[in-house]
Amino acid sequence: MVLPFYVDEEARNKMKRGRSKRQSFTPSEGRNKRHRSVTPAYVQTGSIASQRPTEETWGSLPHHVVLHIFQHLSLVDRARASSVCRRWNDVFHIPDLWRRFEFELNQPATSYLRSTHPDLIQQIIKRHAQHLQYVSFKVDSCTESAEAACNILSQLVNCTIKTLGLISTARPSFMDVSQSHFVSALTVVFVNSKSLSSIKIDDTPVDDPSLKVLVANNSETLKLLKMSSCPHVSPAGILCVADQCHGLRELALNYHLLSDELLLALSSEKHVHLEHLRIDVVSENPGQTQFHTIKKSSWDALIRHSPQVNIVMYFFLYEEEFEPFFCEETPVTHLYFGRAVSKDMLGRIGLNCPRLVELVVCANGLEPLDEELIRIAERCKSLTAIGLGECEVTCSGFMEFVKMCGDRLSQLSIMEEVLIPDNTYNIDQIHSEVSKHLGRIWFPDMMPTW
């Protein structure tokens, strides 16, 4: 039996500080040694322990009590506590405490963050792989970090992982790993775990064949799949997931993977209600991607099957690329426009998005959006949140909008520059008028003038 290890104080809050220093992590040299050095010292200082009969020392706390305490401690604290005595050390290795782990893989040259110590990684692979259920990898923008993550993944053989997250904290480095390396590592988990429920693999080179492996092994359990910006997946690949995984409740993908067939598959009788559908609409250059249109009947089928579904769309398009969108009624609930969107498009949203709950417009032209907003207030009865960046609305138009929506607007984030004072209201008046209608103090958002 090997002991755990001592972890440096510094390792606390590893996320919060430190320039890529590694946790100082020293594998212990053996139980006896530690027993001699640590336990007696502790017992001497702990007044209770030293005065009571042996059977009532801290070391004799019932197993389940220690476990309960340990569950509230961070890994580092557990590691230190485990060096108190043999019984605490036993608890340290209880599978329950190893269900979740986050591997942090960073290179000093590219990240300010710390990394999980290699020895700890080895310990986990050796001793706790079979206990892991909730696993995530956070990697920086360096390819080596992503490769290291893949290497760990391919060793997770005897696992029953339920949740797997591959997270790039900066530039997406998994995309730089050779596709075969990535795919073989990922399929190790897909094949071995067999009860995966949540998978978050945005910005990775996952491909159709690996999704097939996923489906073949985990179709009963899969509930969540996030794979925004995975360029090697085709519409057919994701359709296969939707066809087989009837428990799927949340899906995130790019627009080019969205098809009528996919929506219909998600709406089949065997399928549970879909709860969230997140769609990223991204284009590189104008004219480069032709965006297809989704049929109204497909959307309708989805809403009939899953009336509560949230449909979240993030747009990062050029103005002229919006043509295919929202020409017919679309059941979108959350809309985020990351760059300029035309007045015309916003007009169509008012007409065709009756389920809209939240709308963020980062930019628009110089013409006031009064009419469009008023129409949205009139037609989008569920709208509760709106954010406006570089656009213009006259103060009167905005007041009209606020009056129509009233206190259902739980979020109202308007950059100050957006509001154009007119004969009826100036900025100060708008603040008090809007506050009155919302029933709470409201100010426009501002940026420092500097």
Binding site: S136, S198, L224, S229, G338, A363, L366, P421, T449, W450
Partner: protein, 594 residues
């Protein structure tokens, strides 16, 4: 008793409204005005040639003004701690005066000098004039912590009495009473050095736009007020293409170096407003820019790590990328986005850019596109920007990178659309990137999208004569929004960025709380995603365990989450989160809202 005064100029390079200098003159037999400068340090310091030029011009101007009063400026070479003991002895100094410096570094330096002066029996007199209000006073009024929202700050300012009235400028009579003998070799020993002497090459330097000095500052102030009077409109000015260019009425560098007293500016604006709008007393918004400056000075005064992410209690810790190559492209205007490159070129050439332009390049470097730390950007501004005050520079960078001060709303500036909106014809770009001057308006903000024939006709091939865009903006802003959400959701008590954070998703990967075994074994999304249990389920748990769930809000619960107050969160979680000041700020924010 003989009184021999030395007034030590640092900022506050002016003779008008200078209470510390007035104290030096008050009943003194001799007065010497001193500026201490280390020529060796000059070359190595992270300060660009434009800032040095501005400083030297300001010193020249001071010297010229002092000459008119039959005095001179003494520019002493060296470091203050070495210089003062020498001067104290040589000039038999009995009184030392200077303007209060509220910044942590300045406070430390001044404390050392005051102690040293004491040892030499020199009396020191310090007066606060660089800011309208005393930062300490504002902090005291905010329950002993700096206000972290601008609204809060304004509310406190509203409760304060008006800033002290400015003092008149130094007169000949005042100076005559404490005339100091000027030696023959004054220019040699104490003259204002040239840029060459400081190790800058100045050959072929284009005409510089901002001329340092009090004289220039006063002229600009008059023009500034004339224009305001003429427009008679105190609303926020509409930003046009013309706003992007250096204006002959711009004042910010003069406030930074203290060539213009902020109180003089304040009272001039106030008087003008009262004159033109007889009845009303001016709203705070009239003093917008001045108050922002005060805001950041107050936030920085007791925080020596204000210019760092690490160890800075008000700064959100964000896993920025470390990428020197990309940073260099940004700093040198080689990003391939003409709007960004033109701004960085203007900054390097002239030392000033419009505040919208600052927003654009700061957003691009940090949260918008490159995901590089705001500290790197701040350092570049420190080198190049004439009006870069330490506090204002660091504070603004934190603000613009969404690292502090509780912005509610996350939106990115588009490096193509943002500029085009302000300057559709791209004149600004043509001026600073002449290579692109023949591009048609349609492509001037995105030359890489121009057909080859257009590129050829404009004599500028993208990828050859002008760089290709260094990053795909759409893709990177998509990624960065996700990253920001990850960061902010770890600060689960934080109410900021709520619009985006509220986009719902099921409570997926985050395991049900470990302490509840039954839930854990029955596993996964089922229970956790139920809207009823959602608000009480922390969206994230202990930062030391996997927070693999960056978007772990419960469905339908997003409205609840937004309203969660810190006190409603499980205490376990609260105690684990390190940003205690942020928590404080959130409470404060909540107060503001009520």
């Amino acid at each position: 008793m003989v009184v021999n005064s030395v007034h030590w100029f640092r900022k506050g390079l002016r003779l008008h409204d200078n209470p510390a200098l007035q104290e030096a003159l008050n009943g003194a037999d001799t007065v010497r005005c001193v500026y201490i400068l280390d020529p060796w340090f000059a070359g190595s310091a992270n300060v660009g040639v434009n800032r040095w030029r501005f400083l030297l011009e300001s010193l020249e101007d001071l010297d010229t003004s002092l000459r008119k009063l039959n005095s001179r400026l003494f520019v002493v070479r060296g470091q203050p701690t070495d210089v003062f003991p020498r001067l104290f002895k040589e000039w038999n100094v009995t009184r030392l005066t200077f303007e209060y410096d509220s910044e942590p570094y300045g406070k430390e330096r001044d404390a050392a000098i005051i102690k040293m002066a004491q040892e030499y029996g020199v009396e020191t007199m310090v007066r606060n004039t660089h800011t309208l209000y005393s930062p300490d006073r504002i902090i005291e009024m905010n329950n002993h912590s700096p206000p972290l929202t601008f609204k809060r700050f304004q509310a406190i300012v509203n409760r304060l009495e008006l800033p002290r009235k400015p003092l008149p400028t130094i007169t000949q009579e005042q100076m005559a009473r404490c005339r100091t003998q000027i030696s023959e070799n004054h220019d040699e020993r104490y003259g204002v050095p040239s840029l060459e002497e400081l190790g800058f090459k100045t050959q072929g330097d284009s005409l510089h736009v901002w001329k340092g000095g009090e004289t220039e500052a006063m002229e600009r102030l008059n023009k500034h007020l004339d224009r305001k009077a003429w427009v008679a409109n105190f609303e926020r000015p509409r930003i046009t293409a013309q706003s992007l260019f250096a204006s002959p009425t711009g004042l910010s560098p003069y406030l930074r170096f203290g060539c213009l007293s902020c109180r003089v500016f304040y009272y001039n604006l106030r008087d003008l407003f009262m004159k033109l709008r007889r009845r009303s007393s001016p709203p705070l918004s009239l003093f917008g820019q001045l108050l922002w400056r005060e805001f950041f000075y107050t936030a920085g005064t007791n925080n020596p790590n204000f210019d760092h992410m690490e160890g800075n209690p008000i700064c959100v810790q964000i896993p920025w990328d470390h990428n020197p190559e990309a940073l260099a492209k940004w700093a040198e205007g080689r990003t391939g986005f003409p709007w960004i490159d033109a701004i960085m070129t203007q900054l390097r050439q002239e030392g000033w850019i419009h505040h919208l332009a600052r927003h654009a390049v700061a957003c691009f470097l940090t949260r918008g596109d490159l995901w590089i730390s705001w500290e790197s950007g701040m350092k570049v501004f420190e080198e190049l920007l004439l009006d870069a005050d330490w506090s204002v520079n660091a504070g603004s960078w934190m603000w613009l990178s969404c690292s502090a001060f509780f912005q509610q709303f996350f939106h990115c500036y588009c490096p193509v659309g943002f500029g085009r909106r302000t300057d559709p014809s791209g004149d600004y770009i043509r001026r600073y990137i002449p290579k692109l001057k023949d591009y048609p308006n349609r492509y001037i903000y995105e030359p890489w999208n121009a057909p080859e024939s257009v590129q050829k006709a404009a004599n500028c091939i993208v990828g050859v004569d002008y760089p290709k865009p260094m990053i795909n903006h759409a893709e990177s802003s998509r990624l960065n929004i996700e990253r920001m959400k990850q960061v902010y959701q770890q600060l689960s008590h934080y109410r900021g960025l709520s619009l985006l954070a509220s986009v719902p998703t099921i409570q997926e990967e985050a395991e049900p709380p470990m302490s509840d075994d039954s839930q854990a074994s029955s596993s996964t999304a089922g229970e956790a995603s139920s809207p009823i249990s959602a608000p009480s389920t922390p969206p994230n748990s202990d930062p030391s365990t996997p927070n693999s769930s960056p978007t772990a809000a419960a469905p339908g619960a997003h409205t609840h989450r937004k309203r969660v107050r810190p006190s409603e969160l499980p205490s376990k979680q609260k105690s684990k989160v390190k940003h205690t000041n942020q928590a404080k700020g959130v409470e404060q924010k909540t107060d503001d809202m009520q």
